[in-house]
Amino acid sequence: MRHHLVLRVVAKLLLPCILLFALYTQFHGDYGPGGGFQAGVIFATGFILYGLIYGVENLSKVAPPGLVQGVAATGVLLYGGVGIAGILRGGRFLDYSVLLHNPIAGQHLGILLIELGVGMTVASVMITLFFAFTRP
């Protein structure tokens, strides 16, 4: 893709917008449509676009495959960890109300953290799939 000037310029313009929109979807899921799954997929799309235009080699410099796989596992662990934290603070598994003194604030914190875990896992798994499919 060395010579596709238009594609390279347009991709460079689009990438920050895609990543910003993914973050908006991630953290605005409490108030509008969105959440970890959609945000993770959109975030991964940004990385895959970069990989398609600038080559998989450059993408693996930006996002090393080992690191991406680690993030995928960390997301699931974060989700489960929030559940365990609920047990440790005297509630039930995945009971967010006990995370903070105020139950509503606890729910907000719990949902924010588990959505972050979902987003991390989904984005990393999608990027991992792209790596697996494009490896010669």
Binding site: G29, P65, Y79, Q107, G110, I114
Partner: protein
């Protein structure tokens, strides 16, 4: 509006069946997903529509293109047409249509889905969870255990693809149980 969208979907589906160039087929399946996202918006299910547009029209199209790069981009032509296959498909389709006859009407307030736990979610979630988007409350809090299972499934699928196609790393991944 619904008829227009569904009509476009039927046309797209027929084109997908007829075409032999897989690149065009992948593009058309993306279009099909986008149209179904439009149908979901028309049904006021914006969260589902968002997911369909991002996953169906976005990333799966990209991953299918990746598959095409790995394999080949034109379908092998099949000359013989089998009657039993046509019969099986027609029978299955007829059964599915017969099954939909028992479903409650779209948006009917008497539907079981609206009378089980939904009133409690709508009534109590502002007090219990306090999020403006009740869909997020249900997915992340009331059904947090389900969503944990879904994330684990996504993670396990990623690990399975790595095991099958080889991710380049020889270190084995940890398992997804938490």
């Amino acid at each position: 509006m619904d008829v227009l969208l569904l009509g476009f979907m039927v046309v797209t589906a027929i084109a997908v069946v007829r075409l032999r160039q897989l690149f065009a087929v992948v593009m058309l399946t993306g279009l099909f997903s986008l149209l179904s996202a439009g149908v979901f918006v028309a049904m006021d299910a914006v969260d589902v529509a968002f997911t369909e547009a991002a996953v169906g029209a976005g990333i799966s199209t990209l991953l299918m293109l990746g598959c095409l790069a790995l394999t080949t981009s034109s379908e092998k032509s099949v000359r013989h047409r089998t009657v039993p296959a046509l019969l099986a498909i027609t029978l299955t389709g007829a059964c599915l249509v017969y099954g939909t006859l028992d479903l409650p009407d779209f948006g009917s307030p008497a539907a079981p889905a609206y009378n089980h736990v939904a009133p409690r979610y709508i009534h109590d979630s502002p007090r219990e969870v306090g999020l403006p988007n009740i869909v997020t409350s249900v997915l992340a809090s009331y059904r947090g255990y389900d969503t944990l299972g879904e994330v684990t499934v996504v993670f396990t699928a990623g690990v399975a693809v790595l095991l099958l196609l080889g991710g380049g790393l020889r270190r084995s991944e940890g398992d997804g149980d938490s």
